[in-house]
């Protein structure tokens, strides 16, 4: 399966390159200039204080400033959706030009701060890309942040056993000023995310 899958991925990446994966393919047609949804200015990163996966304070707005930041909310005990999304984002990043990569970062905010401490986030994110930033804070600020970003989060009342957290599956891209630009729904292929990143970051440069 792996061989078949990798071959398919390679073919897909090749097709994307042939189709001009430099930001031109998607312009000039359709409502959105992106593969994802255009959400320019719909959301703003709040100035909320988190602790990052290295145990350092991280202000979501201040410390994300100057970079294009992809934000996803999930939890490490999520076996399916969250790892798939993080792997896709890591693959998308790998498809970018080196200069574009430097302007881009991925931030994972845990929707399950009672279980996800910095250490666990660091171990989990290390499986995808050591440069990914993991953030945790108290429940109240977590939910307030989710609200600000239009990402729904719901936890069971009883959180004693192996509980699951329902959460929005979307990934939001913010510009260096903290204004939202693009939203990708769950399952958007890495090639399409990479194409959008080249478009957005190319325009902003």
């Amino acid at each position: 399966m792996r061989r078949m899958t990798m071959a398919a991925a390679g073919a897909a990446a090749g097709a994307a390159l042939l189709a001009g994966c430099g930001g031109q393919a998607a312009t000039g047609s359709g409502d959105s200039p992106y593969n994802g949804s255009e959400i320019e200015g719909a959301f703003t990163l709040p100035s909320t204080e988190f602790t990052d996966n290295k145990g350092e304070p991280y202000d979501l707005k201040e410390d994300s400033a100057g970079k294009y930041t992809a934000v996803f909310m999930g939890f490490t005990n999520c076996p399916d959706i969250c790892p798939t999304t993080m792997a896709d984002l890591s693959q998308a990043k790998g498809m970018l030009d080196e200069s574009t990569q430097k302007e881009f970062q991925t931030v994972f905010i845990t929707a399950d701060p009672e279980r996800d401490d910095p250490e666990l986030l660091d171990m989990w994110l290390g499986s995808f890309d050591p440069s990914f930033v993991g953030l945790t804070t108290n429940l109240e600020d977590t939910d307030a942040t989710a609200d600000e970003l239009g990402i729904s989060v719901s936890r069971p009342e009883d959180r004693s056993g192996d509980y699951q957290v329902d959460h929005g599956g979307q990934t939001l891209l913010f510009d260096p000023e903290g204004e939202s630009q693009v939203m990708w729904s769950y399952g958007t292929e890495p090639e399409k995310v990479a194409e959008d990143l080249e478009t957005v970051i190319g325009e902003g440069a």
Binding site: M1, R2, F128, D166, G168, G187, E195
Partner: protein, 176 residues
Amino acid sequence: MAARRTVPGGRALTVAGAAGAFALAAITGCAAQEPQIETSDATVRVPLTPDVTSAYLTIENTGAADDTLIGADTAAADEVQMHESVQKDDGTMGMEERDEIPVSAGETVEFKPGKLHLMLMDPDALKAGETVALELRFAKSGTVEVDAEVEDVMDEGAKGGDMESMDDMDHGDMDH
């Protein structure tokens, strides 16, 4: 789709002993109406936390009768649950546990990222390239053993994409 016949290495094609007997019965002209379960592409994700990981595979019922997957087990984890990731109208992703998954005659059921998956609770510290024996329990076919390859999440490639979007990619058609 006949992907199971073209998997390289011939590793993935697994036929239950019982189902093999049914196949033989079919060849010899016996008209028994029985399900026949075949599996392919079984993988287990390298656990990213000690608490949980997921497994994926394709189950095909090539027999003449319906069957139902009623559970799964493995020595490599404390418990195996069957879950389906579901997206609600507001875009929220959640998981629902499934007790029974019908595999009707002639049908193929895919466990894949973002859809159905097996959830391995408290898995062993599995490493990429190892093999995990999964036991699938069917209402009629009984226990079907499947060898699943442990795979790093970063090696899964474009598995998460559905076939429709893969077709898009093949044609380099990016408009949406």
